[in-house]
């Protein structure tokens, strides 16, 4: 029965991937890509990786899909004369994709059995961190440096998006609100955010001991903020506002500060003093959740569209 479910899931994923690659219009391809993200999330559930599944559904399906849809709408307005790729480009992309897939398949099929794993060591050291979710322990204790760099990359991406704004609009606010806001959308934007914020806080809090964590919580917070901005209930903030910029960097800044304090308190960069690891990790996570939410919200909002006020 479970094998049947897996086969159907894999067949659906392959069919959707083909559909995305073959879709004639960009919008259809993006919608297919969003569905692909959610289905891939189900695949991760089948592999018992709930943390990855949540992130895939939130980031791979949700945020990336919304980002692509906005880019598509943007490029459609000011369409370049010829946007269709030449056959040679398509063929090159296909060959590259097939090479990557074949390479990955070759590597995975050639792993020794059982494959080398750090899982027992990670589980054995879990007590020292005070956490119960091994994924969070990997992200914020064992491999904290990777996570720190990942958050910095997010902010660099936002700088890249902002720099698309023309000079006279620099520092102004992006525009998300459509010309006419449909009634149901503004209703949803009034009703949903309280629940969304509650779920985000829960997601963050439960992440220490169960699947969940900063990225998922931050994405939900960002979604609620975007909903409010899309419905025009609150305008997007000026990108030069100091509070906005402080919120963007508070997560990585706290993370870095704790990292350097590690030299003084525990004898190494990003080392946590024994016994105090859990409260420190929770503090970092709280700051990170806020920064991720603001960064993702501003990423989707796009470059400035209005001149800065005052």
């Amino acid at each position: 029965m479970n094998a049947l479910l897996d086969v159907v899931l894999v067949a659906g994923l392959l069919a959707l991937a083909l559909h995305v690659a073959r879709a004639r219009d960009d919008q259809g391809a993006i919608v297919g890509f969003i569905a692909f993200g959610f289905l891939l999330g189900l695949g991760w559930v089948r592999l018992a990786s709930i943390d990855v599944a949540l992130t895939e559904a939130a980031i791979g399906g949700g945020v990336t899909g919304l980002l692509l849809l906005r880019v598509e709408a943007h490029t459609r307005d000011s369409s370049a004369p010829d946007r269709t790729a030449r056959p040679i480009t398509i063929a090159a992309a296909a060959v590259l994709c097939i090479a990557v897939t074949a390479g990955l398949a070759f590597v995975i099929l050639n792993l020794p059995s059982p494959p080398p794993t750090q899982a027992p060591a990670a589980a054995a050291a879990l007590d020292a961190t005070g956490l119960e979710n091994p994924v969070t322990a990997v992200l914020l204790a064992y491999r904290a440096l990777d996570t720190l760099l990942e958050k910095v990359v997010l902010i660099l991406a936002l700088v890249g998006v902002w720099s698309l704004a023309p000079d006279h609009l620099w520092g102004g606010a992006p525009e998300l609100r459509p010309a006419v806001v449909p009634e149901p959308l503004s209703y949803l934007a009034r009703v949903l955010p309280p629940f969304g914020v509650l779920i985000a806080v829960y997601m963050f809090w439960v992440g220490a001991d169960a699947p969940g964590g900063t990225f998922q919580a931050g994405t939900i917070l960002a979604a609620m903020w975007l909903l409010v901005m899309l419905a025009g209930l609150r305008a997007a903030p000026d990108t030069r506002r100091v509070t906005l910029r402080l919120l963007l960097i508070v997560g990585p800044a706290v993370f870095l500060a704790v990292g350097f304090l590690g030299f003084a308190m525990a004898g190494g960069f990003l080392a946590y003093p024994a016994g105090a690891a859990k409260p420190i990790i929770l503090g970092i996570e709280a700051a990170l959740t806020l920064s991720i939410a603001v960064t993702l919200g501003m990423l989707v909002s796009g470059p400035s569209k209005r001149a800065p006020t005052s």
Partner: protein
């Protein structure tokens, strides 16, 4: 007693699955956007609702049961909003077509 509960679960989840099947059929076969939306939202609301009701007796704790109910309510809210939005677009397009 557990036999009764299991039978109830099978009945409720089975009916929910039938609603999803009917909704999918309607989505594929109905002629226009509004009827297709109707089929889709029926599957979401009733199908998911029946599945949640069927699973409720198996919830390990009260909070787990509440989470199940919340999933249904949130899915209903988003499905209703999405249907309204799509229906609005479909209605605006019709005179031009």
């Amino acid at each position: 007693m557990t036999g009764f509960v299991d039978a109830f679960t099978v009945l409720a989840v089975g009916s929910g699955a039938i609603f999803f099947l009917a909704g999918t059929l309607g989505l594929l076969r109905f002629p226009d956007t509004l009827s297709r939306l109707h089929a889709l939202s029926k599957a979401d609301n009733l199908g998911l609702g029946l599945i949640v009701i069927g699973l409720l007796p198996h919830a390990t704790s009260v909070s787990a049961g509440l989470k199940l109910a919340c999933v249904w309510l949130l899915a209903q809210l988003s499905a209703a909003t999405a249907s309204q939005l799509i229906a609005g677009v479909a209605r605006n397009r019709r005179p031009r077509a």
